[in-house]
């Protein structure tokens, strides 16, 4: 009985996280300061928001490679709709999120209607959405947002970075849906055996479209906080962020084949990656050195987890 808990992926991950935290604290006394930890929270928000939705996508056995491009296109939409079209900023933010949701819905429709593998469909839209962002903006950036807008990405509420509240709320809602709601059950059922789910009368297609739509909308939300955090809009925003999000989700124990995974795992994955990045940076390792460690940890964790699975069975 004990071994069931010891060999759980989340347990391994939690141990690694504790280890990483202890090491980071040892390497630099600046690590365990409130300022540093809150600042790290700010940094992980965008990947985190995307990874929440990506967890659902991967549990269905799919993948969404286009989220980085959706982020870019939504950011450009925000800038262009506000600056060029003169729409009030709050409304422009809504439009940006809607555009993201629309991008996601298009992904979902293509995947469901044409039975195209999600990796290929979103590979196509990865190029398409980024291309639209580049084409529309002609690589010009948009700046000069009003001061109140920066509260979202640079400000604090009750001493905690604003976007961390948003991220926390989204994570809790998503965890409840995935763990305790019918929709979450359906998500697992689709990933475990799509045909069986279909024959059981579950709304497979509608659920998948909904999940990809949510993935697009979440990427757009990440875009809004991203723009607010860095005070500018550029068409190359979020390039490659899909890989960070997928790494976090997979590190968190979600099976890339679908049917298995938890929101806690994803959150642990995000925290572990951010802790290692920060700890290594504070220890004087350059940014490029840190990504080597993260890549190795990703492979090693999955390897250990696979071996642990075999031992457990």
């Amino acid at each position: 009985m004990l071994s069931r808990y010891v060999f759980r992926h989340e347990t391994i991950l939690a141990l690694l996280l504790v280890l990483a935290l202890a090491l980071s604290a040892n390497l630099s006394d600046r690590f365990f300061t409130v300022d540093n930890l809150l600042n790290q929270g700010r940094m992980l928000t965008e990947v985190g928001i995307i990874a929440i939705a990506m967890t659902f996508v991967i549990i269905t056995g799919g993948i969404d490679l286009s989220v980085g491009s959706v982020l870019g296109l939504s950011a450009i939409t925000l800038g262009v709709v506000w600056k060029t079209l003169g729409v009030p900023l709050p409304l422009a933010m809504v439009v940006a999120v809607l555009v993201g949701a629309l991008c996601g819905a298009v992904n979902g429709l293509i995947i469901v209607k044409s039975r195209m593998p999600p990796m290929i469909a979103t590979l196509g839209t990865l190029a398409l959405y980024r291309g639209l962002a580049e084409g529309i903006s002609q690589a010009r950036s948009v700046r000069g947002y009003p001061d109140w807008f920066y509260v979202l990405g640079q400000g604090e509420v009750l001493g905690v970075p604003t976007q961390l509240w948003i991220f926390g709320a989204l994570a809790i809602v998503a965890a409840v849906i995935l763990g305790y709601q019918t929709f979450g059950r359906v998500t697992y059922a689709i990933g475990a055996n799509e045909t069986a789910a279909r024959f059981s009368g579950l709304a497979v297609d509608r659920s998948k479209i909904l999940i990809y739509t949510a993935s697009g909308a979440m990427a757009a939300l990440a875009a809004v906080t991203f723009v607010s955090r860095v005070s500018t809009t550029r068409s190359d925003m979020g390039m490659g962020i899909e890989m960070d999000a997928i790494s976090a989700v997979v590190l968190g124990g979600t099976s890339i084949f679908g049917g298995r995974g938890t929101m806690i795992g994803t959150l642990l994955g995000i925290l572990l990656i951010q802790t290692m990045k920060n700890g290594l940076t504070l220890a004087g390792v350059k940014g490029d050195g840190t990504i080597i460690v993260i890549g190795s940890i990703l492979i090693l964790t999955i390897l250990i987890s696979n071996i642990a699975n075999r031992v457990r069975d």
Partner: protein
Amino acid sequence: MSHSPTLAPQPSPAAAFLRFVRAYGQETAVLVALLVIVVAVSLINPNYLGPTNINNIVAGNAYVAVAAIGMTMIILLGHIDVAVGALIGVLASIAGTLAVNGYPIWIAWLVPILVGVCVEAIIGVLVAYARIPAIVVTLGIVSILKGGLITVTQGVWISNLPPDFLIAQFRLFGIPSPVYFMVGLTIAAGLWMRYAPFGRAIYAVGGNVEAARTVGIRPERLTVGVFALHGMFAGIAAVLFGTQLQVIQSTVPNNLELTIITASVIGGVSIVGGRGTVFGSTLAAIFFSAVSSALVFLNISAYWLRAVLGLLILATVLADAMRRRQFH
């Protein structure tokens, strides 16, 4: 198609043509699209067919076509490699570093190819024996390679490359050497996959692993072998890429792996494995160059290029999906 010609009734040319189109539908479609683009753009701007531009189109993207040969085999097996872009960058830097440090030129060409084989063989072992999905392994490898590249080169470009080293700039009968590499390797790989037992086994495993196992193929061993072979093509692509210019940058074109995967997919490789040829992927790589060059000659902002490519990917794969539904 496999029975001997003496026994088979001679098919009429029209029927044979139809059968060819049916079997190589995607390859034919890419070829037709390529011809349409070339004819249409050259009618609008005759300079498009100038010798310099033709050279640019065919030779400039040859390394993508070479890398796409290996990627085609990987995808045929039902795997994927998102690390190949970063790998090509690393291997090109290795080649350049060896060349400027006075090693014999052939060593500077050979070592990156061997390193490519080793890296991909390790990926193959992790995929085949440790049973980690290829996308996860290569996702991890991407970070290791990218981080490693910048840490080692410190982001400095490699310049002062010896002229003998720049193989991509050699010409034979006025044709740049990458063209020979692209054509030669495509034909060799295409024939090998069509006629050699090992090559045919790729299709067998991609189509149905268990069926392949029952006829005596060892899928794990084959997978490692194919990854190693893919590493060789990546190594050759890296040497061609690294010797195109007088310097080697410490970065690779953004999303190079996606361009390579796209060439394989547009060329007719079914992403679910088991179907497609390297002739298609090479045609698709040339088609890409033709399209991006066409934008320049049609005075369309290059910033729209990626959107056009995205539409192309979606259109091809949608067409493929619809055709599959019709035939089955």
